[in-house]
Amino acid sequence: MSPDFLIALTMLTNFTLVATSRVNKAIQLVVVQGILLGLIPIAMGLGRHLHILFMALSAIAVKGWLIPFLFRRALREVHIRREVDPYVGYTMSLLLCALGTGLSLVLAHGLPLKPGTSPTFLVPAALATLFTGFLLLVSRRKALTQVAGYLVLENGIYLFGLLLVEEMPILVETGILLDLFVGVFVMGIVINHIRSAFDSTDTRHLAELKD
């Protein structure tokens, strides 16, 4: 499998994520995207570096097992309805996602990258995933789908990190994973607290906290 194929698949998951209307499906897609991302460094032929292999495997483990596990538990505990409940409709979301992807293709061309970086699809895919994550965060109401958006955002950052993976010290990459884990953890707490305080996980209720 060539890395470009995996990257294309990642971008496709972006679109599917935006268009899906089920919480369960969204979670599955995030998991799929996470595993795809974990495979990319191996497909790029970086598996010969031991630490990168370790990083890729741990990314797969965290994104493919730990996070869905936490998700399912949260889903079980908070008993929410299965719809995604968006602010922005699915068609509109798809259009916006397409716009973001196009914009990232244009932007990636002009970005002043480090000389010697191979011009791959990596940069546009990273930006597109970033925008998709933001789109999900901004346009979905449920706290759980917001966590999914956050994970997609992190995936975008991870893709960007792959660009420098050979020079990047392992510390930074494990940092990314840790960040992610903490993010899910914190969001989990937030979800539980929103539920116990407002008896629902709709983030709109948080507006009552403003002064």
């Binding site: 965060l137 109401r141 709109r204 403003k210």
Partner: protein
């Protein structure tokens, strides 16, 4: 050096046992601080006296340095004479305050353990600050001091007034720190390293030098409470527990002076306008400080305004010395610097004493309002005597210590006048004289209203003398005040040593200021006072315990007495064009008017009249930002997304 470090460590940990002990935590803390004071003052005296014995000027400065640091520093701490001089009041006052606090602040609702712990930290930071020889050590100790003081000011956090005072203090101290950070960065840029030390010739006249001076003036002025920057001082001093006020007013605000003294020591060729600026600022703080003190009814607020006044006196001395240094008159410079430095110590002693005495009054009556006191002298003779001693000293009257430091400044100004006809020296003399006279009026009011006459309230009638643990620290401070006042010669060699670090060719003080004659005069005055007292006692005979004389009217009510405000009224209304007193009075109508009331107070010129309205206006403008605070997390994320997009597009296009 090791003595000094041990003192800091002991001070920092002094409050720790008290956190775990059920009883006697205060005594343990006070004991630790006393030991720290003995060690530290020992170290300081060794620095101040050691070199005097081995000849001038001793260049060996005890330093602490670590082998290698990222910031490239050979020396972190240096216990030079300036540091030693400032260290003495820090440790003396903190030990006295700690003993005082054992009985004054023992109510469990006041978190006595927390207060003791932070008090110890504050003392350690202060002691560290004086000898900081590296910009970062200085700033860290400075910040530690500021934050510790904040926690002490907010001790009684259930009172709205206290919370306001603490916040205003925090905002001003952090503004000051920010300014100082800039100043030290500029210094480091000019020097090429972060070590603090002598600056090259010509730096002072350069634009960078000018900026550094102005930033130092602002940053240290905030801490010292020089007049337009004093906003936090009256509030914080009134709100803090009295032994903390005593430490804050006595030494914490002097750290601003320490900064300026350090700058004076580093700069070999200060421009003339530096000194003149300090003189103007000093005269302003001094006169306005005492004028606003006259209008206060709150005893501790009144004392706080007197701190501003005394900072003014110190700045006058410092400015005079600086003028002398830049015009090449070492005699004037030595007298001005010596006056300022001695006043730093003296003000620490007598203002500490006054705050402790005021705290004792507050402890007994439960109020800080002078109009609720009266006649306390009979119930609290020792507190009354301590307050009188402090008042006597702060007014600059012989034979107490306040007189000696002002004497140096007066002498310096006279010398300056004789050397070359400087108009400012006349200004210095006039403002010093005015300050002294107004201070006398103000303390006549404060002492008279609190301790003389008859009680104006129930609480004042029930007043009782404070326990011995509170009286003894006052006694120690009062004795030190008398000692310096009567034997200023003893301080001369120490002062000589400090002043020698501030400029070249400083002449010795003892002979120049005719200190032995002062001793003679002081002893004569004391003897006269004692003889007079004995004679009066003899006249009075056994009838010592009668009620206060009511001028023969008989059966007068306590309300018929002069109040604190009415005593000062002629002066306050005389100066109403600066003080702008606010009075509320109802018009009296008809033949049988109803009961009515009259109130007057003097609001702070900067805080209440300028800053408060300005900030209110600003807050109104900033309310527009509420439009963006929707409370929806999605919209906040949208802001992030838009910013990111904007940045990306900006970078590409």
């Amino acid at each position: 050096m090791s003595l000094y470090l041990a003192a800091i460590l002991l001070a920092a940990l002094s409050g720790v046992p008290g956190l775990f002990l059920k009883r006697r935590g205060g005594e343990v803390a006070a004991g630790a601080l006393t030991a720290a004071a003995l060690l530290g003052i020992g170290a300081a005296l060794r620095v101040l006296l050691g070199a005097a014995a081995s000849g001038f000027p001793g260049t060996s400065v005890a330093t602490l340095s670590l082998p290698s640091l990222p910031l490239g520093s050979p020396g972190l701490l240096g216990l030079d004479p300036i540091a030693a001089w400032f260290l003495i009041p820090v440790l003396l006052l903190s030990a006295c305050g700690a003993w005082y606090g054992t009985r004054y602040w023992e109510d469990p609702h006041g978190h006595p353990g927390r207060v003791r712990f932070v008090f110890g930290l504050l003392v350690a930071c202060l002691a560290l600050l004086v000898s900081a020889a590296h910009a970062w050590v200085f700033l860290m100790a400075w910040e530690g001091m500021a934050v510790a003081a904040f926690f002490l000011v907010i001790t009684e956090d259930r009172l709205l007034e206290t919370r306001r005072a603490a916040w205003i203090y925090l905002v001003s101290t952090h503004s000051g720190t920010l300014i100082l950070l800039g100043a030290f960065a500029l210094l480091a840029g000019a020097m090429g390293h972060w070590n603090l030390g002598p600056l090259p010739r010509g730096f002072a006249a350069s634009p960078a030098g000018t900026t550094v001076f102005l930033l130092f003036l602002l940053g240290f002025g905030f801490k010292a409470g020089a007049m337009p920057l004093h906003i936090w001082l009256p509030l914080a001093h009134a709100a803090a527990p009295s032994h903390v006020s005593s430490l804050m007013s006595g030494v914490l605000i002097k750290m601003g002076i320490l900064g300026l003294v350090r700058l004076v020591a580093w700069v070999p060729d200060p421009p003339l306008w530096w000194g003149v600026t300090l003189l103007v600022l000093g005269a302003l703080s001094g006169i306005l400080g005492v004028a606003f003190a006259l209008g206060q009814h709150d005893l501790k607020r009144l004392l706080a305004y007197h701190s501003i006044e005394n900072i003014g006196i110190i700045l006058l001395g410092l400015g005079l010395g600086l003028v002398g240094k830049s015009t090449g008159h070492p005699v004037v410079a030595a007298l001005g610097f010596a006056g300022a430095l001695l006043h730093v110590l003296n003000h620490g002693l007598f203002k500490g004493l006054l705050f402790l005495a005021a705290g004792s009054v507050v402890h007994a009556t439960g109020t800080r309002n002078l109009e609720q006191m009266g006649g306390l002298g009979k119930a609290m003779p020792w507190t009354s005597a301590a307050f009188l001693t402090g008042s006597w000293a702060i007014c600059g009257l012989p034979p107490l210590n306040g007189f000696v430091s002002e004497w140096f400044i007066y002498l310096g100004a006279f010398r300056a006048m004789a050397l070359s006809r400087w108009p400012w020296s006349v200004g210095v003399l006039a403002s010093l004289a005015l300050i002294g006279a107004l201070a006398l009026a103000c303390f006549a009011k404060a002492h008279g209203a609190a301790f003389l006459g008859t009680a104006r309230s129930e609480a004042a009638q029930r007043a009782h003398e404070s326990p011995r643990a509170m009286l003894l620290p006052m006694g120690v401070l009062a004795a030190t005040c008398v000692f310096i006042g009567v034997f200023p010669v003893a301080m001369a060699p120490l002062l000589d040593r400090v002043v020698a670090g501030l400029g070249e060719g400083m002449p010795p003080l003892a002979a120049m200021a005719k200190l032995p004659i002062l001793t003679g005069l002081a002893l004569a005055l004391l003897a006269l006072a004692l003889a007079l007292g004995r004679w009066l006692k003899g006249q009075q005979g056994a009838a010592a315990n009668l009620p206060t004389w009511d001028c023969g009217y008989g059966e007068t009510a306590p309300r018929a007495q002069y109040t604190a405000s009415s005593l000062a009224d002629s002066l306050v209304t005389g100066a109403r064009f600066v003080l702008l007193p606010v009075t509320h009075r109802a018009r009296v109508r008809g033949l049988f008017p109803k009961g009515t009331r009259f109130e007057s107070h003097v609001p702070d010129p900067v805080l209440d009249r300028a800053l408060d309205p300005a900030f209110r206006l600003g807050a109104k403008g900033l309310a527009l930002l509420h439009l963006f605070q929707t409370g929806q997390m999605a919209s906040y994320l949208l802001y992030v997304l838009l910013t990111l997009l904007f940045l990306l597009i900006w970078m590409v296009v």
